[in-house]
Symmetry: C2
Subunit: 214 residues, 2 copies
């Protein structure tokens, strides 16, 4: 396939791509960019990722940025199993749920953002944790409200097969757990995450199972 | 068409949807949710948008959340003109550029986030402005680096027709200008924005031209 993934075990965005690749049975060579040690600032990595973000996928000389764009590209290369429902209403619902996580929760809790809150805004470790918890809870409340009320929710976010929404949900739940947030107000989110963890494609993509895990 | 859009003139995400609707010649009934006055907290709006965010599109009883999901849905209803290139490499590039704005710049500068920085983190008006400028500049630097270097850039972000990337770029430039940021380091971004503004679909979607503009 000639695929190369720039990965970091703790990146939620890279974790999404790992799940999608596992679901589709796609292999890639890997390079690991340790964001915690600041390796995203290395000139070599900057020359291929001007934003300094992971994941980046290379395929046949093309570089693809942004996890959701990478997953859409993989879906084009390997359509089975699809990550989006075929019907327009279902497709829109799954994309909306995925983006509620990928565009409204996760960007606020990126490592670079947490560091800026703590250091540049001078909010300290306490402010960092207050920030992180606030945006996780705001986002998960909205998600729980939809998932618990909408009849299209099944064993997974949308029906009984995992979709792009679950690919975003599992890394977000992992992140919240890593910081010991009380998630008891989100029983539907937790039930769906538990269903995801029973699938090897999800379980094998977990940060702790990656070769670069600390 | 039976489309209803919940809109707010200053929302960058709603602005994207307005541009896409104009490009495709799609009309919708509109309701206006004044985020500045806190109308997103009204129980009636919360009952239809659990996250309290705009835009929301209603169509045939279905509610669609998240601007990029709404635009994809409109693209399904009205395929012409398409917002994404037909070739996989171009499609991935445009999605990556769009998400670099929609998932990495804009979420950090949402009104609710700026208010939290100023008030809840106690960073004050000075901290709010420092935050806003920092994330705008970080994001636009990455965008300029790609747009100025990649041969696929044309009159617009990708070739000579507007795509989803431009639909995201124009509202982001509008936002940065509203806060008087110095954008002179981003000549390619500014050149593409100027090309967008010559298209009525973009110009007519501008915040100042909306019925709910203050």
């Amino acid at each position: 396939m000639n695929l190369h993934l720039y990965d970091y075990f703790r990146s939620s965005a890279a974790y999404r791509v790992r799940i999608a690749m596992n679901l589709k049975g796609v292999q890639a060579e890997r390079s690991y960019v340790n964001l915690f040690r600041g390796e995203q600032a290395n000139p070599e990595f900057r020359s291929l990722s001007p934003s300094g973000l992971v994941p980046v996928l290379e395929h046949d000389g093309q570089r693809i940025y942004q996890s959701l764009a990478i997953i859409d590209y993989l879906d084009g290369l390997h359509p089975e199993p699809p990550v989006l429902p075929a019907d327009p209403a279902g497709r829109a619902r799954v994309q909306g749920l995925a983006l509620a996580i990928a565009a409204d929760i996760h960007p606020l809790n990126n490592l670079r953002v947490l560091n800026f809150v703590e250091n540049d805004l001078g909010a300290g470790k306490e402010g960092r944790m207050k920030w992180l918890a606030h945006w996780c809870h705001v986002g998960l409340e909205g998600l729980e409200a939809r998932l618990s009320a909408e009849p299209a929710t099944g064993r997974f976010c949308h029906g009984d097969q995992p979709t792009l929404a679950d690919i975003c949900l599992a890394p977000q739940v992992f992140f919240a757990r890593r910081f010991d947030l009380d998630l008891s107000a989100y029983p539907t989110v937790l039930r769906i995450d538990a269903a995801c963890q029973q699938i090897p494609a999800f379980a094998d993509a977990a940060p702790g199972k990656q070769p670069d895990a600390a």
